[in-house]
Symmetry: C2
Subunit: 235 residues, 2 copies
């Protein structure tokens, strides 16, 4: 197909397609004459993956290039490719954990004062170290084999530290129940991915399934809370 | 204590405290002389709750007033109070489900073109209705007693519809595994809340536990995925 047809089929504009080719994300089309390039379904699939990595995954062009290089290197085993994709999106959706990190701390109160968020700013370093030790103990207890430098470990530490800062450190008692639950989720996620055929498709599934999956899990949790609350506290 | 001491203990500025009193969120202090008001620990606790509802929960001043009115009405049973709090934050953290709803659809690609997000814009209404039917079937299958007008139900429909639009409608097969997992989470959440003593504390726990809990669950899920992937695909 010509570039206009590729644009129409994917909803990506011609200048954007040319930009991806210049940046090396998308292979150039096959030249049938000096001014005419032809694109095939491989281009279409790759273009859709690029759009998903940027639009849903929030990846930079440089990060997309890294993920695509891992996909295209036949010496990389599947779980390494998935690891690159997963690390690229690991912080997405998990990073603004708590009032301390939120821009809207003073928003909506009409007072024009954004300074007071109930934290005193003291001893945060020590407390974060204590929270990190607590998180690492949890990972060891579960037998989860993951590098302590994996970005999601930092996100977890940040969120738990924010809870403590707000005076709800006691909520860490829920972590083991949450860990039981996410093991069910992660096993289902990985089994689903394992059924996919090609490496492009695998990575796209990880990105879409992880990020939109977070939204789905959060919504399901609220719904299940309403039901559990009605059962517990009665009508 | 005087207003300056209340400000120091909570980190909320004096003008902001006065604004909350004017808006009826915080009861006025007890006047010991025409220019001197005294505040007690009840004020301090209430002020902390207001800051959490605004700062972590993202609630407007009007929504905070609704939640506080429910707390202070002795005729309201606990689960109604929790329902008001939960509905107020139900959309938080679950609403930007998918490329179609994201402002950064074209960001980071340097092309200045934000138009193409891979969707064709046709038939969305019909598909959303089909997704809604699918979601309602899930709720019925689980026996979850929740109004179909609860905001989290809309968030769930939006996120599932976004998956379909991206060509990953097949991911709905994971919903039952996710539902199994969130039942564990919601039961733990509600048991934890049930152990709290006062109604102020209950509501604060729901808001902090739900919103920061989402971040914790998302981070734990990524970590558990890495472990499950290593086990499934081997080293």
């Amino acid at each position: 197909m010509r570039i206009g047809e590729l644009s129409r089929r994917t909803g990506v504009s011609v200048p954007t397609i040319k930009f991806y080719v210049r940046e090396g994300l998308l292979p150039p089309g096959r030249l049938s004459s000096p001014n005419q390039a032809h694109y095939d379904e491989g281009h279409e699939r790759r273009l859709r993956l690029i759009r998903t990595l940027i639009g849903v995954g929030g990846l930079s062009v440089a990060a997309v290039a890294d993920v695509l290089a891992a996909i295209d290197d036949p010496s990389q085993p599947v779980h390494k490719v998935l690891g690159v994709a997963s690390t690229s999106i690991a912080g997405q959706g998990t990073d603004d954990g708590g009032a301390g990190g939120k821009a809207r701390s003073g928003a909506g109160d009409g007072s024009g004062d954004g300074s007071g968020d109930g934290t005193d700013g003291s001893g945060n370093g020590e407390r974060t170290a204590a929270v990190r030790a607590e998180v690492e103990a949890l990972l060891a207890r579960r037998g989860w084999r993951v590098s302590p430098h994996y970005p999601a470990v930092d996100s977890l530490v940040t969120a738990v530290a924010a809870m403590e800062r707000l005076g709800h450190g006691d909520l860490v008692r829920l972590l083991d129940a949450y860990a039981d639950a996410v093991e069910i989720i992660a096993r289902a996620d990985v089994e689903y991915v394992a059924e996919r055929a090609d490496r492009d498709g695998l990575v796209e599934t990880v990105v879409v399934g992880t990020l939109l999956g977070d939204k789905i899990i959060a919504a399901l949790r609220r719904i299940a809370q309403v039901d559990a609350s009605a059962r517990r506290f009665g009508d």
